[in-house]
């Protein structure tokens, strides 16, 4: 499945300082769909190069990270259970505190 993943608010530093990743994520054998839970584990394995604890805590993102699926907060689409579709855009962004 072709997806665009974007990292911001400093999270890009965890994946070679690259903000936009066009990726192809395979649906696992026996599954009929790709969920955000699957994607997080794929990102953790394939994109995060350092300090994974800055991206995840337990099986979800760490506190302070917003997840957006097609410009919409994943809280509105079922969080970890959100089903992804071809060409979806998923944004992971860390909240900023500076001024």
């Amino acid at each position: 499945m072709q997806l665009t993943l974007e990292f911001g608010g400093g999270l890009e530093l965890l994946c070679d300082s690259k903000k936009i990743h066009n990726v192809n994520v395979e649906i696992q054998n026996g599954e009929d769909k790709l969920t955000m839970k699957d994607l997080l584990s794929w990102v953790r394995t394939n994109l995060i190069k350092e300090r994974p604890e800055m991206f995840m805590k337990g099986d979800t993102v760490r506190p302070g990270v917003l997840v957006l699926v097609n410009d919409c907060d994943w809280e509105l689409s079922g969080q970890l259970n959100t089903s992804l579709e071809e060409k979806d855009v998923v944004v992971f962004i860390s909240t900023l505190h500076g001024g």
Binding site: K19, M54, P63, G64, D71, S94, T95, G98, G99
Partner: protein, 287 residues
């Protein structure tokens, strides 16, 4: 608000004529502004343009909270301060600048750090709060105080080459804790002093904060509530995304919450976020 209504005097008609000409703003919008009070917490990178535009546009009473002094390394982004004010309190400097561009509005100086002990008393004097601070505990504290007092909160942040903006606790919309019930790890809370910031980025976010505060005060337009603006300066890209609504589990704003003024005053924001509310200037360790 505790003000009496201002009618537009002739000098005001002349000063604000470009606003009065706007069909979707007009006399009513300007009168609403003149009768409104807005507090800006932080006279730094975000507060500088926010304060200048709020003063210029004719907000009736404009408050400034800050405990810091102007430093040379602020000057690349904190355009409200002049070199002549280096070493002096930011509140004093910012208030002087606001008065110099609009002598007809009331500017209130709160030259102190905002803490649980004084926040209720200070914020309760204003209709709208602008969070222009630079650290996580202040953001939670200001949010909770706004929730307890029922005030809309225009929240901006900037770091590096990115900025974020939304309005919390507006008209049934979410508060900061609805989005971020658990504080991030302290290693994720970088300050401009640690990581740097391109000066004009808080400039853009601060202007957008002034705009949202003006829209709320004037009762015009669609407020950026339930939506968040994400700005990436390097790629010149801006997203406006839909965020969750008010959370039924929110410790601060859920209907059945027990979080009231007393709980607010007793809450330890520094311990909650494992971060001090204010920090002295860091030594530079560069080059």
């Amino acid at each position: 608000s505790s003000h009496s209504s201002n009618a537009l005097e002739p000098h005001m008609i002349y000063r604000y004529s470009r606003h009065l000409l706007l069909p979707s703003f007009g006399v009513q919008g300007q009168e609403n502004l003149l009768n409104a009070s807005i507090l800006v917490v932080g006279a730094g990178g975000l507060g500088s343009p926010a304060l200048l535009y709020l003063a210029a546009c004719g907000v009736g009473r404009l408050g400034i909270v800050d405990h810091d002094v102007v430093e040379l390394n602020n000057m690349h982004r904190q355009i409200i301060h002049t070199e002549a004010y280096i070493g002096q309190p930011k509140v004093k400097s910012a208030a002087a600048a606001c008065r110099s561009i609009n002598s007809t509005i009331q500017i209130v100086e709160h030259q102190e750090a905002l803490r649980t002990s004084n926040a209720l008393e200070i914020l309760s004097q204003y209709d709208i709060i602008v969070d222009a601070t630079d650290n996580a505990p202040s953001r939670y504290m200001i949010n909770d105080c706004c929730v307890v007092l029922g005030k809309p909160l225009v929240s901006g942040a900037a770091l590096g080459l990115e900025g974020q903006l939304t309005v919390y606790n507006y008209n049934g919309g979410p508060c900061y804790r609805c989005l971020f019930p658990t504080p991030p790890p302290t290693t994720a809370c970088q300050r401009c002093a640690d990581s740097g910031v391109l000066g004009v980025v808080p400039g853009i976010i601060g202007c957008l904060q002034a705009l949202e505060a003006i829209k709320i005060a004037a009762s015009v337009g669609e407020i950026l509530s339930g939506r968040m603006l994400l700005f990436d300066a390097l790629s010149a890209r801006i997203r406006i995304v839909k965020i969750r609504g008010r959370s039924m589990q929110c410790e601060a704003c859920a209907e059945n919450t027990t979080f009231k003024q007393q709980q607010f005053q007793e809450f330890d924001y520094e311990n909650f976020t494992q971060t001090p509310l204010s920090v002295g200037p860091l030594r530079l360790n560069l080059l």
